[in-house]
Symmetry: C2
Subunit: 316 residues, 2 copies
């Protein structure tokens, strides 16, 4: 697939940070930046920007906050055309922590939100765009969104927001290709002046396939992570995505190299990938939280018992 | 997806045998049979039937030959409605080794072939059907088949063969959903009186997604293996497939249990799954053979060098 409009965003450090409390060392972040820059990836999301007045810095590593001087240190001296982004969560950032663009190395701010918080997300993304950044809104837990509420949110985003991209975020890894087809179609119906983005999770080994499906349906902004690192089962593997896209600006080779040098050792220390409890939460269209919890216990591989623990009670 | 015509075939022992020279012990095969039977899986393929006059029994375990008394011992006493199949390779079996159905516990014979050997495959599958079995033809390496040759093979299969199912076999794990859509459409155009089957390989994490795509396009016979075991990256994980299919005859729970008890220990001894060299051979639409070879060397994780070793020479 070659469509010049397609933009790839690497969120290795940002989504990967969800499994190690954002405690990547500087060298790792540098090597990721070096690799994605050499690979011609359009954007790299280097972490979250949370406000230390809201989230305690005692509990998280520095990539939860992405202070400007930390970012500058990590990327210093590396030749790159890759733009930088951070993610901000509705309710976890003060507007004052979004600096004017001229004081920042960042190019893009991505606002993560649930449908119910869409008004707050619009307020936040407009703040970012007004300060000079590209802005996106990423609608999480999309597989649980009620149809009429999602319609309303998309109509609002089109009318009221200055975001240039609105993402489908399959937080639970629960979407099948038919759902992706339906959702991209819906997004495109409402968003006449914005691009559609796709962020998959790999609980059912569908993150890459769903990303291809989204591209086929017309999504032009797609997320990947190196070796698929990310919360729970992880994300769409960037190396597969670059193998699929035929745009000559991409070169997958630096990604293979950094997997060998940085990701194989890391995978020995923290886990992600095809792990049955995450597949099970996705089958139930549930947040991976209970699976993340059981993976920290002695029952981490008691799959049948875990499955049965999620069977619905009589809810009538 | 619920379509009563859909039949699921578990080929755990058959395709998994390709990574351990078919040396599963009896208890493992029994537990697989017990699990797929309890799960309501329609067919279980228990191995290959090769002739000992052609393939030396010194080099392979018993599931390369699947003698009747060995199968009977493995399944003895287990309550089951799951039908049994073996795969036969063109050129590796004598017709005399296909017993009359009344002397066999098998229900189905699946003939694996390349397009070029289609005449031999038709001869073999007709022999099996004449002896009382259900018969299928599985066209391997489909991502390398020349379009006109495949058309001719499918036309012949429709006219001359007694097979009830013809499979798409993505031996290299190289197909994308658009290719699956194209191929199922082509198969259905030629095969008016036969069912279409799908056997995926997971080199690019697309085996499950491609199987869903094949179902959407009208394929009614689909293969899976428990925990995705199989040559190289493995196959479509049966547990995901059963999670997708809504047919009430299926129960995924016994599969989760056997993964915990049998497959996690096995995975410590032999490897399959998302392993970068297999993704790379798939990107080049190559047989996984060079990746299988490098995985046995000290360079098994030198991904960039492996990628570059596959770059084409000047072939003009």
């Amino acid at each position: 697939m070659f469509r010049p409009e397609i933009k790839v965003l690497d969120c290795t450090v940002r989504d990967g940070g969800l499994i190690n409390d954002h405690r990547f060392n500087d060298n790792f972040v540098r090597e990721v930046y070096r690799a994605v820059s050499a690979a011609g990836v359009d954007y790299m999301e280097i972490g979250y920007r949370c406000s230390k007045s809201i989230i305690s810095p005692d509990k998280f590593g520095k990539w939860k906050f992405c202070e400007e001087d930390e970012i500058r240190r990590a990327i210093d001296g590396i030749d790159s055309h890759t733009k930088l982004s951070v993610m901000v969560d509705v309710g976890r950032v003060e507007k004052a922590d979004i600096l004017p663009k001229k004081d920042s190395v960042l190019d893009m701010i991505r606002v993560a939100t649930y449908v119910k918080d869409i008004d707050k997300a619009i307020d936040l993304v407009n703040e970012a765009v007004d300060k000079g950044y590209e802005g996106t809104v990423n609608i999480m837990a999309i597989s649980r969104a009620l149809d009429n509420e999602l319609d309303e949110a998309l109509a609002q985003l089109e009318e009221e927001s200055k975001a240039s991209v609105v993402y489908i975020v399959d937080s639970f890894g629960a979407l099948y290709s038919e759902n992706v087809q339906h959702l991209v179609g819906k997004y495109k119906k409402f968003l006449k002046n914005k691009e559609v983005g796709m962020h998959g999770h790999n609980n059912q080994q569908l993150a890459y396939a769903n990303t291809i499906q989204a591209i086929i349906e017309g999504a032009n902004y797609v997320d990947g992570t190196i070796y698929g690192i990310g919360r729970a089962a992880g994300n769409c593997p960037l190396e597969l995505l670059l193998g699929f896209l035929k745009n000559p600006k991409f070169d997958v080779r630096p990604i293979f190299d950094v997997i060998t040098n940085e990701f194989l050792p890391l995978r020995e220390k923290i886990e992600w990938g095809y792990i049955i409890p995450y597949a099970i939460t996705a089958m139930f269209n549930e947040h991976p939280r209970p699976a993340m919890a059981i993976r920290k216990t002695e029952d981490k591989d008691s799959y049948l018992a875990f499955y049965e623990s999620l069977l619905p009670d009589d809810m009538e």
